[in-house]
Amino acid sequence: MIDLRGQVALVTGGTRGLGLALGQALAMQGMHIVVTHRWGSVSDLELNAAYSAAGLPPPLLKEADVINPDDTRELLDTIFERFGRLDIFISNVCIAGRGSDFDGLRFRDLRQSLDYSVWPTQQYLTQIEARFGKVPRVTIGMSSDGPDHYYPGYDYVAASKAALEALIAALAPEIGSKGGRIFGLRTRQVDTQSLAQIFSPEIHALLTQRFERFRVAATDMGDAAVALCGGLLDGLHGQVLCADKGAAFHDNFIATLPLWQELHT
């Protein structure tokens, strides 16, 4: 596996939940971590405390709205001046409204979801290449199994993740020709703040408590990200790594009937 020490990773939306775990996992490999957030969602003190509690040096925290090119430019300038390199880019921001019923679906919600959760991956790559003269060695787009599974309220997230995975596949030849690798990293039911925001309290409890066995920890996703950054999975270029304990394939009316019967006895 490639020695990641001294390399620089940028994690968008890296202050909480999955993004926090991804940054910490890479920091544990000796990488310098840069994380972004928006609108004062976290303070330096809070984030540094989280890293310190894990025995890690503090990351570089920058406020940057992923859809604002000026913010991105300023962010990349800072990274360039501070480190002179950017090796890993993890596109983790997903901002999407909660879908409702058929009549409640709104085009503007879909548009906003794609604007925040899909296009920044490509826009960042373009600006990174312009600023650093090359694409990152590894780019990872964080996805979920929503495109292939119906979850109530997940309409816009699912559409965004489907678009992101397709974008990754489509970008792969160009990224590969420039010496980079790009992957999707898929999971489900990671117990983070986002999960609680997307689903109702009842569904959240179902996923994180009753079916706790199939819950993937944020640290598991950190491990998977380390594996993708380490070079051994370069043959997976342009594809999606699915880290879900095999649960998604099993999750349907018929297959889960014995589980429900077990829960109700």
Binding site: G231, D234, G235, Q239, A243, H250
Partner: protein
Amino acid sequence: MSNAARFVVLTGTELLPMTTLAKALYAKQVQTIHLDAASLRESIEKLSSPPDALVVGLYGMHANVPDSITGAFNLIDAIRQCRDVSGCLPRYAIGIFPQSQEASLAAVSAAAGSLMRYVTSHMLYEDISINLIAYRDTALGLQRAADTTQALLSGLLDTVRGQTFVLTDD
């Protein structure tokens, strides 16, 4: 990384890919290599401790249809033999095979992938990760397969179960 596999058994009928895989994995990990899947049971019996990983070359899929489907079943046979002989399942089971443009072999590969996902569901409550690697039949493609195998055995990807890795060789 503490979950990394320590004892790996490689089995398959093709010498070159299996030895390439063995070299690519850490030497101390590879406890035994077989070129004859039928002798797997006998060899596991001789091991000092149960293997925690099986890497199985599904090279029967190189043969002519309909015999090629036997290759797809070799992973299941190997897991069963390991369980029956050692009394426990390996934590990792990986089937590897070369990609093929030939229609019937591509169909058999798809059957193997679907079957493996069903096996994963059968074993959902067991501590075993089963995955397939379809590599391009070139030197770099084989190296990619070895790398991916090593990643799957590293302990970093224990949440990855039931996936077929269709690898590039660029």
